[in-house]
Symmetry: C2
Subunit: 209 residues, 2 copies
């Protein structure tokens, strides 16, 4: 009666990861999810879980990898759309927020994982953020903005930028996805944060340590 075989290789694996993500998207915290709960949501028998993951932490780690792909896609889109340097901040923040809206569960998972239960997941997400910050620094170097900054200072600036944007996640994710007014407020505030940071960076030489 019911197909006992997979349609495609890794199909169940994806179903399980999507199921966990869906539960997170519904407001649950990843740390509170159980194997049975996830398999139930995925429409799969509990035993199947072990065919793909050793435990929930393992699943979390693989979610981090997928999160990395999402972030890279976002970065690529930003690079393609942000052409003139003067609109850099507004455009980038806009892209970030639209991605956060379209991949709500992923970004919720990211926000949770930063202070999550699994040390490995935590480190994975922090590593993604570091990578993101260093890529941002490279882009800024290429664009020749902030040429007066030393490499270390530029890295620090980008680190702060990425952190500020990441913190905005907690703003976006508490407002309902349809509340466009609130979303616009967050967008504006985040952009002003970044402007403030870049103004600081522009005058940073005046306070060289």
């Amino acid at each position: 009666m019911a197909d006992k075989q997979r349609r495609k290789p890794g199909e169940t694996r994806e179903k399980l990861m999507s199921a966990a993500l869906a539960l997170v998207g519904k407001g649950r915290h990843f740390a509170s999810l159980g194997i049975r709960e996830v398999t139930r949501q995925a429409g799969v028998v509990p035993t199947s879980f072990y065919r793909h993951f050793r435990n929930m932490d393992d699943l979390g780690l693989q979610l981090v990898d997928e999160l990395g792909l999402v972030l890279r896609r976002m970065m690529r889109e930003a690079r393609a759309n942000v052409l003139q340097a003067d609109k850099l901040i507004d455009e980038s923040v806009g892209i970030f927020i639209s991605h956060a809206r379209n991949n709500r569960s992923f970004f919720m998972f990211m926000a949770q994982g930063l202070a999550g239960e699994s040390r490995a997941v935590q480190e994975g997400i922090r590593s993604e953020m570091r990578y993101f910050a260093s890529e941002l620094a490279n882009d800024l170097r290429r664009l020749k903005v902030a040429d007066h900054l030393s490499d270390a200072d530029l890295d620090m600036t980008c680190d702060l930028v990425v952190r500020s944007v990441a913190f905005s996640l907690t703003d976006i994710l508490v407002i309902s996805p349809e509340d466009e007014y609130q979303e616009e407020q967050v967008r504006k505030r985040t952009a002003r944060f970044l402007q403030l940071i870049f103004v600081g960076a522009a005058h940073w030489n005046s306070r060289p340590e």
Copy 2:
């Protein structure tokens, strides 16, 4: 045999809250704690839980209140010790980090709660942060630094400062409490973030929106 009566009123209540906090301090996530687990850690029978809390979310909310007290104590200490404005940042960051060390579990709970499961806890912590930021703005007004900033811009600056410091929590809490070198690194980095922000604020008028 065993005392069936409380020694002091609210003793068990405190034991339960401390127990939850202790588990969080051991690396567990608050969202994954169960009633039985907490009562076990507190050395109390499960039924006792309901004498003081309706559920775990309720306990979380009351922890937020206590967290508020911790933060206020920290603020008071900062106000007492930060006298000359030129050492403001370094001293404040130092006080923050020493408090984070001495109340590790509390700050872990805070970091977790920002993206936690309970909407109420989340909102409670965000509210504490807002309060903290507005108090900081008042202090800066009193100190007459940043007189050129409008009220709104000063509020924004302080908001960003508080966020940046809060994000540093995720740095502090992953390093082991004894690792003084790493702690020093975080201290320095956080201080430089704030310096960068204040340099930005100092020149903010040059980009009035």
